[in-house]
């Protein structure tokens, strides 16, 4: 069964002009958000994007931008409390997120 999360929230953006169609973004995306059509990347399932940032970091021409972050409640709360960027507290060595 396919998981669905909130719609229309992802900050993913693609600049088709810059794209050279190398396909790296499609390769790294864990949720099949991107497809290559006519030698250009296309966002085909934006609502499935989890903002992991893999596509952005692996695009050789910086054609993709996304506000990457951890989708984790305790990280966000920690961010609010300490007034900093949300981050996981994985330092305990346990499998947090």
């Amino acid at each position: 069964m396919k998981h669905k999360y909130l719609k229309d929230v992802s900050t993913l953006e693609l600049s088709t002009d810059k794209c050279i169609g190398c396909g790296k973004c499609k390769e790294v995306c864990p949720h099949a958000v991107i497809e290559i059509e006519n030698r250009k990347a296309q966002i085909i399932d934006k609502n499935a994007c989890m903002e992991c940032g893999a596509c952005m970091n692996n695009c050789p021409v910086n054609a993709i931008s996304v506000h990457a972050g951890v989708g984790c409640v305790s990280a966000v709360i920690r961010g609010w409390l300490t007034n900093s960027e949300p981050s996981c507290d994985c330092s305990g060595g346990s499998d947090c997120c």
């Binding site: 864990p30 409640v73 994985c90």
Partner: protein
Amino acid sequence: MSEKGCCSPAPNKPRTVKVKNSSAPEKQCCCCSVAEPITKYDLADHWITGELETEKGKVPVVSTRLSFKDKFGAFKVRFNIGRMKYQINPGLYAVGNPDSHSPVMVSANYKLTFDSLRKELDGLNCWIMILDTKGINVWCAAGKGTFGTAEIINRIEKTKLSEIVSHKKLILPQLGAPGVSAHEITKQTGFTVAYGPVRACDIKAFLQADYKATDEMRKVKFTMRDRLVLTPVEFITAAKTVLFILGIIFVVNLFAARPFVAADLLTFAAAMVTGTIITPVLLPFIPGKAFALKGWLLGLIVTACMVWLNGWFAVNGVLLAIGYLLVLPSYSAFLAMNFTGSSTYTSFSGVLKEMKISIPPIIISIVVGCIVLLVKAFMR
């Protein structure tokens, strides 16, 4: 940092696999006084079966079978028993009898990650380059950047990888991609990056297909089993805060006209189990998209059942019914929302939106519910 050269007239690559117990791990290096070992290891570790001589020094050979000790260790981590650091030393490891043409896989130094990788490599000859991710799994570490471009470049240098293998190819787990810029690694080290499959069990198929992963191998699934193994940690983390609540209940009971009894605690426990175990396991089958909503719905059903079983829908229990129906579904909702941290498909923007909408009503309903319950407790 890299002291190249001095040891190199070593034997003409008679890469012998030494069997364990044959000798104590001794530095047999000749001239170079303080040559850093490629990998720090201890032959006494049960998962190291021997050592392999390379041109640059010895590399531990690891077993592709998981022993009882490995499994028990995994169990302890899953259940959060003993806050030990479950990690191994970064460096280069060998599987089978690899040579300079064998593939190199990159992974994290979290032992669970390492175990699930090596158990899929039975019968293969390959290298595993373990990064220093501070004992965190690939996915988390990639998010933090410890599984990242800089550490990979650094580790290639420290392990002298380019002198141990003759090719220029690394296989990275796809889940490490958020922390990595493949083209940066190529630019700085010459190594190209192939992203392997998401699941370690697909690695053999990936290698056979000439480093090609199918679309199916690239997708993150989040099966019921995946979710189930994550629930114990959720439950135990929640259980730790329960001690605090029990303390308050104990104090209240000293003065209360109607003290809290076993039935109350059971009702509470049911809500906790709902939020930390039942909701995660049934996740895609519960209506709604937001985790909080899913948890609240199930919490409402379970709490209503418990209240009914306890007979609190009767006139003299109605305050209890109202109180618990306000507090407990919200509590389940909050616990369920925490599971976003373990899920593999929630986005940061989504979680933020969900929290902004759901946290205020959760707090209000818990506070009002607690007041109702306290009124009931002290009412004569």
